[in-house]
Amino acid sequence: MKGIMTGAGSGLMLASAPWLKVFSGKAAAPSALERVRLGIIGVGDRGSALLQNIQAFALPLNVEIAAICDNYEPNYQRALELTAGKAAGYRDYRRLLERTDLDGVVVATPLHVHAPVTLDALQAGQQVFCEKSMARTLDDSKAMYDLHRRTGRILQVGHQRLFSPIYLDAMKKIRSGELGQITHIRGYWHRNSDWRRPVPAGRPDLERKINWRLYTEYSAGLFTELMSHQLQVASWIKGMQPVSVVANGGLIYWKGKREVYDHVAALFTYPDDAQFIYDSINSNKHYGVEEQIFGSRGTLELEVNKIYAETPPAPPAIRQLVHDLEEDLFATIPIGGASWVPETAVRSEGGYITGNYRMDETRLQLEAFVGYIRAGQAPEELTRQAYYATVWSLLAEEAARTGARLKLEERYHV
């Protein structure tokens, strides 16, 4: 946890990521820390992953998972097993929220339920960590944000890249001017799967409950489940929010098995005319996931922790000499034909953004949540970035559906 603030430039780090202040103090002994009791609402795939991450630091940070809740029996039973029966189990989240001994709740339900659960939790006086995206609709997202502001309770949303050492070191380099002017950002997330989770045999009634991500009633599909992460990164890097979006989507490969698009593309424009171009597909995984940051003096590939200078450094002189002699001796003599050489990609190995990449950002964001609970507050910028990543993702979905170029209405600005 302390390692995230190592090295010179932690001031620059805090300037670009003020939410890290929670890590800048001296680590206290567990006994000196007031116990933090958490409840987890929604312990499916993501929820149980968060549960296990919390368990990994529960002892040194004096954290207790006091309660779990899920209305799907296999998830409920699995969570009780994971906590060795120590956590109280609930099938109705409202019963969990009636407890007065919890310090915070983690919400990891399907997207369309984020709003009612989080609103109830904030009303009940809880500090809340809610998985991304914030909500299924713009109105629900705005309602969550407004209630968070009104109650003064923490609302942290699960954009874990905000805590990743790779992304944080990248931000330091960007803010220091090392990359020059950031003029263009490209993101993509390519998978080759139908995105389905198995439904128990003989239980077709569970199809929409288990595979909620595939149905427009519950999710915006690739826009909210994947793109929102990378859109948040792009806006964080630009230090501003988009002004418009155009988008397209199609059900091309997994027809008949879902309602949400399986191929999407979106183009966001920022106030300085820079663009974030994005695509996500479910029929090819060759290029995987990446955010490419293009600056006038360099390029970043964040998911693989690489940085490239726009003008790679020259190789050592003796190697240049040998290379030139080889070219003179063995180069073919062109006899007619085209003299134009295509501008192919620069082949430079580049360097690594950070050597500090082994820290798990999912765990770091949860540790931060515990720290914010103890401090009684979290940086507002965290919630603001998450809110805008959500509303612009939802706008992209609408733009794909209508074919229109969309702007964010004034009433949704915060």
Binding site: P316, I318, Q320, L321
Partner: protein, 85 residues
């Protein structure tokens, strides 16, 4: 069964090979210095590129050895042809 001949490596032969090695290394070091001047690199490369220079010296030595082998082979063939006459 064939019998392998005894080979004697004389001091003169060793001295000769050492001389060729030193000449190869000298050429490689001079080439490094020349390259530093030509491409305006830092003089620190005299040290940092030593592994590459040593490898280059080895390549030069092997090229010289191949040329010497070729020369002596041709000379032996010519002498054998002359003797037959």
């Amino acid at each position: 069964m064939f019998k392998i001949r005894d080979i004697t490596i004389t001091g003169a032969a060793i001295t000769r090979e050492i001389r060729y090695s030193i000449i190869s290394l000298g050429i490689a070091l001079l080439a490094n210095g020349y390259a530093i001047v030509k491409y305006q690199a830092g003089w620190g490369e005299l040290i940092t590129q030593l592994p590459f220079v040593l490898a280059l010296a080895l390549v030069l030595y092997l090229i010289a050895a191949a040329l010497r082998l070729l020369f002596h082979s041709l000379r032996w063939i010519a002498a054998a042809a002359w003797r037959k006459k």
